[in-house]
């Protein structure tokens, strides 16, 4: 199936900038001009401008990052996509995804970091440009920095403002990855916590061995191993952690998470008033988009609780599944399934620090994702072609491409196809397993 891209136009009310004046700075973040007109999301003051500036610079490093360049990629790579900002209750969040689709970062400025007023909650794109980057590097704690996210009509009519438009082609792979990474985070478990000093030392001494390294706490430090150890987290392409350098300068502590099934890891850096979350795919050459973690949710849909969950979304920083379950009379399991489906559709993100979903709606047309999830499409075709023969409990035969495959469901689904033989469950279920799940789910329904 040929790669698909979404033609997308970034249309901003001006360009983001850091305007320096004697004794103060003004950080203006330009956001998308929507059909309903300009929108002001937030206005306030950065309490720790230097720290916030450095976290946003680290985010920009992720936006620019290409940790893996496929062999066929010859032309110079232009930066594709701008970060996404969500102004919600209690948090101002900036999300970014690397060009190689293997690294996701999010900066959460907590209430303590911004002294201001939430004017309108919402999610939108925000313009990050080179002059703004330079301005962020010059923010200093010794002079105040005002912050606006968005602009109101009055500001737009000022002489400074002019609409900035940029057309890009967002690869479907990039979009899918942005969505998939939420499913990864929801599955992750905390493995260990270390001090900010330990993180800084790890980054200072980081080498670049090939393949997968393993990290674990060793007394006050974090040690890197060449082979798996009990309590160690696998990190493929460990040099990707260098992006944490700026955030680490301000870190009090870091919490490390892992998804053992896939080998993905997440690093949550905590500062006194903000967090930097950094999620890495199992290897640099593997983006999140091919990992299939959201496939099950997409294949089975959100179930009966979907409506209740969607109506409960109100830009909250922490969605409470128990509360939704109680209010809607749906079971926790049904609510969780619906939340997983919302994540797979870009309607919610996952916050590792709070271990909960938060409401934000990615500003892209994500119907493309469902249409072009090749494994999902193929699984659906198998069910439509009646290629699935349920055999015994949780077992089936699937006919595909002239071969017959044996599928076993259960806690660890298996299949005799080469895909599962090579990848196991690390990249989600194969199309045969998905097809059997779908048929079985219909039967149960």
């Amino acid at each position: 199936m040929a790669a698909t891209a979404l033609s997308y136009t970034y249309r901003y009310a001006g360009a983001s900038e850091v305007e320096a004046a004697p004794g103060s700075s003004q950080l203006r973040l330009a956001t998308q001009v929507l059909d309903g007109g300009p929108r002001l999301f937030l206005r306030g003051r950065l309490v720790s401008p230097k720290r916030s500036g450095e976290l946003l610079l680290a985010l920009m490093e992720v936006v620019d990052a290409r940790f893996h360049i496929p062999g066929a990629m010859l032309s110079r790579i232009l930066r594709l996509a701008d970060p996404v900002v969500t102004c919600g209750t209690e948090r101002l969040r900036f999300e970014a995804f690397s060009q190689c689709c293997g690294a996701y970062a999010r900066v959460d400025l907590l209430e303590e970091a911004v002294d201001g007023e939430l004017v309108n909650p919402g999610t939108t794109n925000v313009d990050f440009n080179s002059p703004m980057r330079a301005g962020l590097a010059r923010l200093s704690d010794s002079s105040p920095a005002l912050l606006t996210v968005g602009a109101d009509r009055v500001e737009l009519e000022s002489s400074r403002a002019q609409v900035v438009e940029r057309k890009v082609k967002l690869p479907e792979r990039w979009l899918r990855g942005f969505v998939e990474v939420q499913a990864f985070q929801a599955r992750m478990q905390p493995v260990f916590t270390a001090t900010g000093g330990a993180l800084r030392r790890l980054l200072q001494e980081l080498r670049s061995p090939k393949g997968t390294s393993f990290v674990s706490p060793a007394g006050p430090a974090i040690r890197v191993h060449s082979s798996a150890q009990p309590g160690a987290v696998a990190v493929g392409g460990i040099e990707r952690l260098k992006v944490l350098g700026r955030a680490a300068r301000h870190a009090d502590r870091v919490e490390v998470f892992a998804d053992e099934a896939t080998g993905a890891s997440a690093w949550s850096v905590y500062t006194p008033d903000s967090r930097f979350h950094y999620v890495l795919s199992p290897e640099p050459s593997r983006g999140f988009s091919g990992e299939g973690q959201a496939l099950e949710a997409l294949a089975l849909g959100g179930g009966g609780a979907m409506g209740a969950v969607r109506s409960a979304l109100r830009w909250q920083s922490r969605i409470d599944p128990a509360g939704i379950s109680e209010a809607s009379m749906h079971s926790r399991e049904e609510v969780n399934r619906a939340l997983a489906a919302c994540a797979a559709s870009g309607l919610v993100g996952f916050d590792l620090a709070d271990r909960a979903f938060f409401h934000r709606e990615l500003p892209f047309d994500l119907s493309l994702i469902d249409k072009h999830q090749s494994r999902l499409v193929n699984a659906r075709k198998l069910t439509e072609d009646e290629a699935v023969e349920l055999d015994a409990v949780d077992q089936a035969w699937v006919t595909s491409g002239g071969n017959r495959y044996r599928v076993w469901l259960g806690p660890a689904p298996r299949c005799t196809c080469p895909w599962v033989a090579k990848h196991g469950s690390s990249r989600g279920p194969c199309k045969h397993i998905l097809a059997v799940m779908a048929i079985q789910s219909k039967g149960e329904g």
């Binding site: 980057r133 200072q204 260098k242 196991g424």
Partner: protein, 888 residues
């Protein structure tokens, strides 16, 4: 202009006359002539077609190269540019002859912007044409990196000044873009042949370009995410402008922003500028304090030291900021360089007695400090010694290799065999599963359960594709785990047989192919039988009682196969349960029974000298072999290490002994063909170019005796210490340290020593992790490792820095590890200090860390005398004195 007239000029005129004729033509006339011009161009490709080029290739090169002693004729190309469509022009190569501008300027085609964008992407020499078109207003300025950056491409040395003087419009816009765009392959300021720096400095001195703007732009360029290589020019250019103190002061926020750069050279540059301003009294204190953090938290030693000096001067002249300076200095206690930590601590001491707040701040930061600094700080704080002291003594006994948690579960049915085989085929392992599949095929090849064809459908399909693609070699053995699985499946499912036995001295992969040969042969005939040699426990171990049971329930089989299988089984016999097995083997008949009883320790003599009896003798009690590795500078590259190996009394590698035994006894060789001299040759030839998966499987051949394995590994890694060839297989040898059943003999320590010097990051990490592990479980023999290290240093080729790093990291794991490292280094230094001062100080620094952490100074009288002989004021002598000052 008519087509005929144009063709006449092409044939008989000059470039000028062609251009002149085109100049007056309308677009309709041009269009009318284009077919004839293209036909003329097509005639021009004939000589190239005769040389074997395709038409497309010929069109592309016809205006680039005319052949030897022939001049290029651009008349047809100029005519094509003047008459053809953009698509037609593109087909005929990318040359831009001198008159190209004239033709395009006269024609003013609608596609001129497209042409400009295209030519810039394919031919850097097209830039002058594009520039002239832009300058003359004939096309829009392209907004591409190529347009701006190709300005610096080509030209003679120092051409920039002339270009800028002849085209001063470039100074208004294009030149400034050079500060915003990173270089591309064809054009980068990294190598400034054009003299751009000199040109811009000169023009700014003349007032023709804004000096202020150049100063700003060069700093702003350093803020952009350029690759480090591309940043050098901007730093150098900025300094070439010789900014005054006032100019620097005006740009202080920029320098401060750069003081948190991730590019070490930029960081150094920024700190130097800040230092200049500080000396001139132009640096506000707040600015210094705000910017100090990143350098102190980074890894660059120089930058951190510079900042500490600046902070000390600030504190001296502004006592009010001492608390803030102390906070920053405390942060530097976490710096990875012990020197910086020491400087930070000394600054804290000079700032005065620690307040309660200050004490808490320092205490927090001490966890990651080196042991010497930690000791001093704790003494200063009066907080007592937190360093845990524990002595290391080797104490290891082999764990039970037959423990239940390492038992291997045989494959039970065809379903499981299909799943496991497919997985091993696609993943290349792990080795235990390779053996499980081999045994599974051997035992289950005759079974055909219900829906067998369906169950094996996917496997058949994959194997068919591989057999169709695969080149089947004409030599013996197996070539990879994937190949092995494919051939087993081919025999089992398609009755095809491709594994061959060798008929001469065997390489490793041939030896490994012997058992699969027999299994595949039976699978083809559906003759099932359990393998004698299938391991019962992880790592290749075989329970002796299980072997007796297998022989007891034996199935009639070809004698050669039985021997090969039994030989391998004997090599895998675990040390435990032998008495029990001997008892059970009482009634076994035939030579197999005699051999097995002898191997298990029966009170009898060996009854033969065949391969079977030799294997039984080795299994009964492994013979002693002396492996010797020597090294020195490589004769072709004196900076590289070259190793050679010899083995006494028999020049045979243990793991390859199996190959020789098979060759001698199972291949019906004539003795004359099997020459012992083969076994004396370079071990690399014997192990061949086996990939990591095959080598990992080979490690299961003889789990009980690793010395030969380690010797081979040490030999291979030593000959590639600086990673001159990407030999990814070598790291398989270093996995031996994860084998908790492996006794650390002399060769194992040599392998470890070599690994600790390896340049390749994973080999180094595996060796370091191996050292940490074997200290933890008591297997390390400090004198053996120290002796091996001393031998490596004596070669005069290896570097101490990598080793010192590994030893320091190991020492920090625990007090026990620190003490082990102390003992190792003491032994390593026993035969003298490394020759190079850098190696000396690296090793002494690691020694000091280990001694301080373990609470014991150098004990040996000879070593103390050696340290006393180190004189001078350099780092090495200072470290030697610190060591001598430690309590023994």
């Amino acid at each position: 202009m008519t087509p005929e007239a144009l063709l006449r000029e092409i044939e008989h005129g000059s470039e000028d006359s062609v251009v002149g004729l085109l100049a007056g033509a309308s677009e309709a006339q041009r269009k009318a002539a284009s077919a004839a011009v293209i036909a003329r161009c097509e005639r021009g490709i004939e000589p190239y077609l005769r040389q074997g080029l395709t038409a497309a290739q010929a069109r592309r090169v016809m205006f680039e190269w005319a052949g030897i002693n022939r001049k290029l004729d651009f008349r047809p190309l100029l005519a094509l540019i003047g008459t053809g469509t953009f698509g037609e022009i593109k087909r005929y190569g990318v040359e831009t002859p001198a008159k190209t501008y004239d033709v395009l300027a006269a024609r003013k085609p609608k596609w001129i912007e497209q042409w400009c964008k295209w030519i810039l992407g394919v031919n850097p020499l097209g830039w002058p044409v594009v520039r002239r078109l832009v300058r003359e207003g004939l096309c829009e300025r392209p907004d591409s990196d190529e347009y701006y950056l190709l300005m610096i491409h080509g030209g003679e040395f120092g051409f920039a000044r002339k270009l800028l003087e002849n085209d001063p419009g470039l100074l208004d816009h294009e030149v400034w873009e050079l500060f915003r765009r990173q270089g591309i392959r064809e054009a980068s300021l990294g190598q400034d042949y054009g003299g751009w720096s000199d040109a811009l400095v000169a023009l700014s001195a003349q007032g023709r370009i804004s000096r202020d703007r150049l100063l700003d732009a060069s700093l702003e360029a350093l803020e952009l995410p350029f690759k480090p290589y591309h940043t050098t020019w901007y730093r150098n250019f900025h300094e070439a402008l010789k900014p005054t103190i006032d100019e620097r002061a005006a740009r202080l926020p920029l320098y401060l922003a750069l003081s948190s750069s991730a590019v070490p050279a930029t960081l150094k540059f920024a700190l130097k500028a800040i230092g200049i301003m500080e000396k001139a009294g132009a640096l506000p204190l707040d600015a210094l304090l705000d910017s100090a953090g990143p350098a102190l938290n980074g890894k660059e030693k120089g930058a951190a030291s510079t900042v500490l000096r600046l902070l000390e001067r600030a504190a001296a002249s502004n006592p009010a900021c001492q608390e803030r300076v102390a906070e920053l200095a405390a942060a530097a206690l976490e710096h990875p360089a012990a020197d910086v930590q020491a400087s930070a601590f000394e600054l804290l001491q000079r700032l005065g007695p620690a307040t309660a707040n200050g004490k808490a701040l320092v205490t927090q930061r001490l966890e990651l400090a080196s042991a010497p600094v930690r000791r001093r700080a704790e003494a200063w704080l009066g907080s007592g010694n937190t360093i845990e002291i524990e002595r290391y003594t080797p104490a290891w006994s082999m764990p039970d290799s037959l423990a239940s948690e390492s038992a291997i579960r045989p494959i039970t049915d065809v379903e499981e065999l299909v799943l496991t085989m497919t997985r091993v085929m696609n993943q290349g392992g792990p080795p235990d599963d390779v053996e499980r599949v081999l045994d599974g095929v051997s035992r289950l090849c005759a079974e055909r359960p219900a829906r067998f064809d369906d169950l094996t459908s996917s496997l058949r399909s994959q194997v068919s594709k591989m057999l169709a693609e695969d080149y089947v070699p004409r030599i013996a053995g197996v070539f990879s785990v994937q190949w092995l699985m494919t051939q087993l499946a081919a025999a089992w499912l398609f009755e095809k047989m491709a594994i061959k036995l060798g008929d001469g001295p065997l390489l490793l992969h041939a030896a490994l192919g012997v058992r699969p040969y027999w299994v595949a042969g039976r699978a083809k005939r559906r003759k099932a039988r359990g393998l004698l040699s299938a391991p019962t426990h992880g790592g290749g171990w075989l329970d002796p009682v299980a072997l007796v049971q297998r022989l007891t329930g034996g199935v009639a089989v070809d004698r050669d196969e039985l021997e090969a299988d039994l030989i391998q089984a004997l090599f895998r016999l675990a040390p435990g349960r032998r008495n029990e097995a001997l008892d059970a083997a009482r009634d076994l008949r035939g030579e197999s029974g005699d051999v097995l009883r002898y191997a298990l320790g029966a009170d009898c003599a060996a009854r033969g000298k065949s391969a079977l009896w030799i294997a039984a003798t080795e299994a009964r009690k492994p013979g002693h072999r002396e492996y010797r590795l020597t090294w020195g500078p490589d004769k072709y590259d004196p900076t590289a290490l070259s190793a050679s190996m010899s083995i006494e009394p028999q020049p045979i590698q243990d793991v390859l002994r199996l190959a020789d035994l098979f060759a001698a006894e199972t291949q019906h060789l004539k003795k004359a063909l099997f020459s012992l001299s083969w076994t004396e040759t370079n071990p690399i030839l014997r192990a061949g170019s086996a990939g990591p998966d095959l080598l990992a499987w080979a490690s299961l051949v003889w789990p009980g005796n690793r010395e030969g394995w380690c010797a081979l590994g040490a030999f291979r890694i030593a000959n590639n210490l600086d990673w001159s060839s990407a030999n990814w297989s070598n790291r398989v040898f270093l996995a031996v340290f994860e084998d908790r059943y492996c006794e650390m003999g002399r060769m194992a320590h040599v392998l470890l020593a070599v690994g600790l010097m390896a340049r390749e990051a994973t080999e180094f990490d595996m060796a370091r992790d191996g050292l940490i592990r074997i200290i933890g479980d008591g297997r390390l023999q400090c004198d053996r490792l120290g002796g091996a290290l001393a031998g490596l240093f004596a070669s005069g080729v290896v570097r101490g820095a990598r080793l010192a790093k590994a030893l320091t990291e190991t020492a920090r794991v625990s007090g026990r590890h620190a003490d082990a490292v102390r003992q190792v280094i003491e032994c390593a230094l026993g035969s003298g200090l490394p020759a190079r001062p850098a190696d000396q100080s690296a090793l002494l620094e690691a020694f000091l860390e280990a001694c301080t952490a373990s609470g014991a100074g150098p004990a040996s009288g000879d070593l103390r005398r050696l340290l006393e002989s180190v004189s001078g004021s350099g780092k090495g002598p200072k470290l030697a004195r610190s060591l001598l000052a430690l309590r023994v």
